[in-house]
């Protein structure tokens, strides 16, 4: 344990030393490098302004807001069931996972709980969203580093998962399937067998990516020891998800929170990595896809019988109150603070999205790195623009 702590501390000292070098050694004329808003290395329209001194970044700032859609304002003129259609589009690669915390928040305020079968199916679809989301990350990671092959593997296998989600919900990207009190429908016939076989393919895909990318010397040399985020910094910036667990924080909301979902009913592991560098963040995500396939497989085998919808009124009025519910989404902690004043629609919804916090650390972590590392660090932090801008 102490050895691991020392390793993290050494990496931190190295990053601080790089920072000092920038300030003292190199007295050259600076230049400003503008990456984005439209740039192949950014997902969507995130603009990074970096002030360089030679090859090193002295100051960097992400400039978001090119895609802000004002969902917090829009929720105030929607009814509760309509809000899920909006929040679907926050993190568009893991849409179903966005609906769940909002629905759980509304259910908490109403005192309703979904039937056991609905909770299981929710968890299954939640984990399928994670797999669809993170498998794209794993493919895209290669592209950021100049390796084109992994992305084809990723798109091939993500398609199987999207087909499953489409088969169950009718929507490939925006299922809008979660309802207050349960789910719109039960699983289609043949879903269980099909999902088992897809999970096998996905585990195979993880092996392929691990052999292809993670064992690669270039990949390792470009990610190991790069962009180190120590534990305490990660926590106070509110980093969550794999970014936090890659800094050695053994905290997963799926395990540590008592939610009416099925994660605690099956056997799986929380993956952590002590290093806190880019490699650790990528590695944790890869392992989490494996764990997700395990969760899905076990949940399919233990799927309880029964209805998928509790008895709720046709017109939903949520009693007065406030609730915060967050879940461990593919990108990290996604939460909704819902304020209800007894109306058909929420009075105020604060959307706590993972990427907003994850990206707010960029000015800190980019200080002192070299220009090519900007891209790998951003890629390993993994953000979805819709999740920053909301």
């Amino acid at each position: 344990m102490t050895m691991l702590g020392d390793r993290q501390q050494l990496a931190y000292i190295a990053s601080q030393a790089a920072d000092a070098r920038v300030n003292v050694e190199l007295e050259t004329e600076g230049m400003t490098l503008n990456i984005g808003p439209q740039h192949p290395a950014t997902h969507g329209t995130l603009r990074i302004i970096a002030r360089l001194d030679g090859e090193q970044v002295v100051w960097a700032e992400p400039s978001a807001g090119y895609m802000h859609r004002g969902y917090e304002k829009l929720t105030e003129v929607r009814t509760y069931p309509q809000v899920t259609a909006l929040v679907n589009r926050i993190d568009w690669l893991g849409s179903f996972a966005n609906e769940v915390p909002f629905i759980l928040g509304a259910e908490k305020l109403m005192g309703v709980e979904a039937p056991a079968r609905a909770q299981h199916i929710r968890t299954i679809l939640f984990e399928l969203s994670r797999i669809a989301n993170v498998s794209l990350f794993l493919g895209d990671l290669g592209v950021q580093l100049g390796a084109v092959t992994p992305v084809f593997f990723a798109f091939r296998d993500r398609e199987y998962v999207l087909n499953l989600i489409e088969g169950a919900t009718g929507g490939r990207f925006h299922p809008n399937f979660d309802r207050i009190g349960g789910l719109k429908d039960d699983l289609p016939a043949g879903f269980i067998e099909e999902t088992h076989s897809v999970m096998k393919k996905l585990r195979n895909f993880c092996d392929e990516i691990e052999n292809l990318l993670f064992g690669n010397e270039i990949f390792q040399s470009r990610t190991r020891g790069i962009g180190v985020i120590p534990k305490d910094i990660a926590l106070q910036y509110g980093l969550s998800g794999a970014n936090l667990r890659a800094s050695g924080v053994d905290w997963d909301l799926r395990r540590d929170q008592d939610l009416p979902m099925a994660w605690n009913k099956v056997d799986w592991n929380v993956i952590t990595h002590p290093d806190g560098d880019s490699f650790a963040r990528c590695w944790v995500r890869l392992q989490e896809v494996r764990e997700s396939t395990k969760i899905v497989d076990q949940l399919l085998d233990t799927l309880p019988a029964g209805p998928v919808m509790a008895k709720v009124p046709k017109i939903i009025k949520v009693p007065e109150g406030e609730a915060f519910v967050s879940t461990e989404n593919p990108l990290g902690e996604m939460g909704y603070y819902v304020v209800s004043q007894g109306d058909q629609g929420p009075f105020r919804v604060k959307i706590r999205s993972a990427s907003f916090n994850n990206i707010s650390i960029v000015p800190w972590v980019l200080k002192g790195v070299y220009v090519p590392d900007i891209i790998t660090i951003l890629a390993s932090l993994y953000f979805i623009l819709g999740d920053i801008d909301r």
């Binding site: 978001a64 917090e72 829009l74 910036y237 905290w251 509790a310 009124p313 109150g321 004043q341």
Partner: protein, 224 residues
Amino acid sequence: MQWNEEVSPLSSTTDTTEAPRDERREAELARVVAALGGNVVDSLVKPNDDMWIRVTADTWRATGETLKSLGYTYFCFLSAIDWMPSPFGKGEDDPTAPPVERDTTIKHGYTGGDTRFQVLARVTQPFTSLGINIKVDVDDAAPVIDSWSGVYAGANWHERETHEMFGIGFNGHPDLRNMYLPTDFEGYPLRKDFPLLARIVKPWPGIVDVEPLPGDDSEEGEAS
């Protein structure tokens, strides 16, 4: 509807029959309140749910520092709530009809409040996943409060967002530039008296479609 008997029917009122206890959260809140002392105006525990406290405005920064030292090292979010009900309702008014007068009496949520704006933050203890929601009243005439960016580094961006969306200033914040809006944007979009323009310039198509759902016994067609 064969599952009717399996699921208890929904009650819209909170059940006060047995009043479940949550000793873990109650003990935790007592520890927090003891550490904060006179800063706490009001506090609330909802069993097996969450904790809320409201603190005085001049001790906002000190509250953050105390909570951090109590193990709430994970910064979740910071935002604000405008408690005034929107004078535009749901934005579903007929633009040709005379404007509707709406009751804009302020009705506060948990732990009460005295002002229209409240800043709301949430910090969490990692590992135990116990979170606490902290509210603070912000003076209506001069909505300014101390910044948390020196306490929790992550508060920086959240305060910038709150500043442009609600017009709440943060003393000691390094850089309160707009994140999303153009620099010369006028108004504060998330305030309730800021109209949702998309609903103003074009009538909401839903106003012609409203018809009661079959078999519904709740009242229909009310103004808000």
